[in-house]
Symmetry: C2
Subunit: 131 residues, 2 copies
DNA sequence: TAATTACCTATTGACATAGTAGGCAAAAGG
DNA sequence: CCTTTTGCCTACTATGTCAATAGGTAATTA
């Protein structure tokens, strides 16, 4: 399941994409438009900044801004960043230790196929496809 | 993410599908073959029985057995049962209260599309496709 | 009646989720 | 310089889920 962090992050990115001409957008405004607690959004934008998807500027006239053009973002990279990978099963997670049953496992190919399907779906969707 | 419950359940079903001529299969044997704690499997098979996917028989010579022919099971119904729906986001869960932002939400159509993709993928896969 | 099996309830530790609280740091406007 | 506005940082917490474990009762057969 995709958590609120992933979903909210996507909404923040969409909000910023729509305000793209206005320079830095204060988080307060985003929080009000999106009806999400500003405090909680702080956590989310922090991750987005750390992941180089957006940049922030302090002080009066500050706020957040996209780093690239909206059409250059895929939904996949946003979700991936927030969820720490959107892998379907623990066996396929980046940090997973190799399963001794992998060779004989009847279900592993299914998870692989599923993983690829999901990955392709989200990475082929651009931010601008949602506006 | 699909939990161990869902993954183990699928492996139990596959195990039963392969032993289909042997009548009732004791959980002890499944646990040994699959290298999963029998105690934990008890929880899983209980759900499978309750969901009418398998049936159990007590006493000597007892165990578990599929209710239908292996080719008549979709992977989707197994996962769905164990995960209490494999919905992508809370907004689309069966028990979710209606979101006041649904009409204007830019992301909802994406989740719908994703949900359908996943649903179709798992429901089109039959148990026998994995053997 | 003994062995074998399923079936039932309760408990646990670890971790993740979804936030909240309070303050410090930076930048701009007057 | 000082105040306001903003981002940024650390810490805390309540709730819930996951992945099991433990210990027993009930049913069935040889």
């Amino acid at each position: 399941m995709i958590s609120t962090k992933g979903r909210y992050a996507l909404r923040v990115m969409l909000d910023l994409a729509e305000q793209t001409k206005k320079g830095y957008v204060p988080l307060k405004d985003i929080a009000e438009r999106q009806e999400i607690s500003k405090k909680y959004l702080e956590i989310i934008v922090k991750d987005l900044v750390k992941g180089n998807l957006i940049k922030g500027s302090s002080g009066k006239g500050g706020g957040y801004m996209l780093c690239r053009k909206p059409e250059e973002y895929s939904v996949g990279e946003i979700i991936d960043l927030m969820e720490n990978s959107l892998t379907a099963v623990a066996c396929l997670a980046p940090d997973a230790k190799e399963c001794p049953r992998a060779k004989e496992c009847r279900t592993l190919p299914l998870w692989h196929e599923y993983d690829e399907l999901v990955h392709n779906f989200f990475y082929s969707k651009k931010l601008t496809d949602l506006i």
